[in-house]
Symmetry: C2
Subunit: 347 residues, 2 copies
Amino acid sequence: MSAAGQRLTIRDVAARAGVSRAAVSLAFNNKPGVSETTRAHILRTAEVMGWEPNRSARARGSRGTGAGTGTVGLVIRRPARQLGLEPFYMDFISGIGSVLTERSGALLLRLVRDLDEEIELQRHWWRSGQIAGSVLVDLQRDDPRVPALAELGMPVIAVGHPSLTGPFTALWTDDGTAVTEAVRYLAALGHRSIAHVGGPAELGHSALRTEAFTAAMTELGLADARRRVTDYSGDDGARATRSLLASAARPTAIIYDNDLMAVAGLSVAAEMGLRVPSDVSLLAWDDSQLCRLTHPSLSAMSHDIHAFGAEVARAMYDVLGGERVTGRQVPTPSLTPRGSTGPPPPP
Amino acid sequence: MSAAGQRLTIRDVAARAGVSRAAVSLAFNNKPGVSETTRAHILRTAEVMGWEPNRSARARGSRGTGAGTGTVGLVIRRPARQLGLEPFYMDFISGIGSVLTERSGALLLRLVRDLDEEIELQRHWWRSGQIAGSVLVDLQRDDPRVPALAELGMPVIAVGHPSLTGPFTALWTDDGTAVTEAVRYLAALGHRSIAHVGGPAELGHSALRTEAFTAAMTELGLADARRRVTDYSGDDGARATRSLLASAARPTAIIYDNDLMAVAGLSVAAEMGLRVPSDVSLLAWDDSQLCRLTHPSLSAMSHDIHAFGAEVARAMYDVLGGERVTGRQVPTPSLTPRGSTGPPPPP
């Protein structure tokens, strides 16, 4: 295979159709100046030859092809040692993709190591016209991407609480309310010692969930609120679980900030000879299909991540269409009880 | 946010730097005709203003931005009802991404429902200059994408056995040898009744694995070769496992064609009160991180999918660089025994 394949140009189409290049352009832009018969003839000729105009040059002046066709950028940060993407992103990308497909758009995806690399890349994508806009994920407090990308005037949908997203259209789930629901549910089952296995403090949604966890425990008068910080990987989830379950007074319930870590936690419990839920209750977050595939199946704070991704893509197209889109909260994760939660063991 | 943000043009940069547009172009193309001092001044001015040339128009004539910057297309088919992507694709995309990042390329991703939709989309991406080339996955026998895309002269890396990939550069794993190794291993443990939970027959690699499974069983004189066909989803894997384990003479070992289905199989065994591996042995395929997160951890036919994705991206850049790249076989999946395989129960 060679990359050199000769591409057809408007000149070839004009020659084959026996018209001027201007006529081809008028026909494709649906402008007056060519008869309907000629227009149909030109379009048919181009179709037969397999030529279509470069939308970028045609419609948007200096904007590149990506911008013209509604290509949306998505940059995911993750530590170099962490291979693969977590289940959340599989469902999220799939949801964005479902709407892009309807609109003939596409997702331009890149994995990066840090925020600086992301900012550089987003700038480059935008300035070289490769994207019409971008979706920002994993917002941090005082996220440097917000001022940097706002300066570009680039359309952005930011997935995060409005307190994190600056001038951008924000889409978020109410994680605070969901964490509170999770803690209250476990407390209602009789648990007094509840642990939280969360993400790094610099991530905005991790920080919000951690604060909500501590507040909910305090409100319920539960002093034994233990926390473990992870990088959201299954391995880190397993380590955090081992450390909690091996501690002198082990918690009787653990809330995980994603489902991959909860799956790992379930295995660690089995490995340590503890029964779930009679010895320890485990509660997952996100609820991808993994939670239904384990035994016992995992109770989880569920939300429809696929629908969330689709909503983000729809908001992006509204913005691109020139609408003024205010932020919106998507449905709050809600408790789906399955087999991994129950009353604590008798003291 | 508005999509209208005025973009800078080469004219703006020339005016600010006090030079002609031709001089800006010469400076950026590193061509003679401007002094080093002027060149540095122009580049600095552009940098300060945040302008960079549209590589497409500059370097490739009629080719779009995507082509100019090495954007690679990837289209994944999956049934509409199946949300999310399977773990294989998470690792594969991550591996492609790691190389694209080094080369400042990006992945243009779309999920589609069928082959016709994919062909239409690949054609459009190529003709409108959005991609420099594409990676084809899930090759079928007599895959209609092969002639359709070959006709375009588009650079393609096809992930599949050379018997499936026509004129394209093929990268593949030797699935036949791997299946044979899996069957021999289980037979050596003493298993006589081994089942295979595979994918749809129209997928080339599913068909190759199924043939190899049947051949290996026959070769070993094992008559009881049962097969179940799935869509690779966890739910279908659970159903297939239930049907096998509920049958009159249940198999003592099951080989799965991916790891999501093996995770589901493990849960079904637990749900039916069967111990793994003392009642039934389970062997997964692909070996994403999931296999290490279950209890018992899953024995698997392992390959480094991240490295596979990286190899595909490198082959793509070789092709784009004008090299003649012959197909290559990437390392054959090999057995990683863990806790889910052992001798069969006594008869």
